[in-house]
Symmetry: C2
DNA sequence: CGTCCATTTGAGGTGGATCAACCCTAGTGG
DNA sequence: CCACTAGGGTTGATCCACCTCAAATGGACG
């Protein structure tokens, strides 16, 4: 399951902050004096499976993770993409409800779920933070239900680009870690439809490519308009 | 906004239990000695709007409620249907993220959000319950994303029937409170497609009607098979 | 008994899926 | 350093599940 070195968690030494400014997870770990451990997964490796016991809670240090559900015939719905700083695998029930996989080589820090649960019984602020993180996931899911149930292919792709722009744009350039199939399975589309929508946005001058996964947005306002 | 009598909450005197056996909300209200008030809304009345301050948390005593998000052109996605015993309107953030409306005449009991928040800072068990309720909503949303993103029309309708069978079947008969348009907006379909799927299931002997909204399931196994 | 919606049913259109080449590029090994 | 290869991405042609538009039917309620 775990592939690389096990080492006690240390505060990043280079001062580089995580992408999400309010690092609730880090605060919790600090408050409750929990032991966080680093692990690494290689590209395409499964981190945990659906319905497996939820033993750990994870935060991404570097890399990218997708979580998904499968139908028996292989149809897949990706629930979320997780990027550096994001927490995933946090469950209030004893098992994971989606499968998590590393999209690219990924390092996480993790704490035992039982430690968090214990900390939450002692410190109400920890309990509140766990609730807020789950509520944040719920908000994302509610927005995504609207996208999946009611938006057109172009609106979905526009929403995806704006989400990724917000979450991972460094220096105006977006470096997508995931392939077209992953994007399609996130948006409820086929990879061909995603590709066609991106090509059309390129033709219209809304974005530029430098390699299929390096995207520069040229007209965010146009994307926002399409986002309905 | 509120239409009928205001009365202090009382434990049901007739011993009739709510449909959900583990009444977490009731337990919380009891533990924290909160004041719950009853209110009634008439059919189609709005209970709260998207982005409004989340002042109250609600539990349905009788009736049915839908929560939805709208796109600017009127496309609607219903996130959930709420039935007697269900809690809705619980937010960790200061505002409601969907609009809630009574589908039929509905009575709720409600408590102030601020009271719950306060109770959660005193009693860790209350805090844990709030988290669990939100996590339950998240689980429903994750399952619904799979439905909206990847299931066929027939699979969606089968899933809907099984969900409603589980949640409101009294004596083998399902009395749906919502119209075909609501079902469509919940399943990401048009009302005509919902109607056609139901007609096909009737033709195949999987279910019987006695009035468009009174449904008896004749072959649950068949529905489960379609649910993929 | 009549009116008004909700629902059903029919006919035709279409957005996105499917099937099928083809292309590009990063990685590999010579 | 370059040729080769494999996997990801693009593009084209066709199909079909579901949507749209339209009309008929039915049930609830005055």
């Amino acid at each position: 399951m775990f592939t690389q070195s096990v080492s006690p968690y240390k505060v990043p030494h280079d001062g580089k902050p995580h992408t999400n400014i309010g690092d609730t997870f880090g605060i919790i770990v600090g408050r409750a004096s929990l032991v966080a451990t680093e692990f690494s997964y290689s590209k395409e490796e499964e981190i945990y499976g659906e319905d497996e016991p939820a033993e750990f809670v994870y935060q991404i240090v570097r890399g990218a993770v997708r979580t998904h559900k499968l139908l028996s015939d292989g149809r897949r719905q990706i629930g979320a993409f997780h990027l550096p700083g994001d927490v995933f695998g946090l469950e209030a029930s004893p098992t994971h409800r989606l499968t998590a996989e590393a999209i690219i080589d990924t390092t996480v820090r993790l704490v035992k779920r039982s430690s968090l649960e214990h900390a939450a019984t002692i410190d109400v602020e920890v309990a509140r933070s766990l609730w807020r993180m789950t509520a944040g996931d719920l908000q994302h899911a509610e927005n995504h239900m609207l996208l999946l149930g009611r938006k057109t292919a172009m609106e979905r792709v526009a929403a995806f680009l704006l989400e990724m722009d917000r979450r991972l744009s460094a220096a105006a350039m977006m470096a997508l870690p995931m392939c077209r199939r992953d994007i399609g399975d996130y948006l409820g589309l086929t990879l061909e439809t995603v590709s066609r929508a991106l090509s059309e946005l390129h033709d219209r001058g809304t974005l530029d490519f430098s390699g299929a996964r390096q995207i520069v947005l040229r007209n965010r306002q146009h994307l926002r308009t399409m986002n309905a």
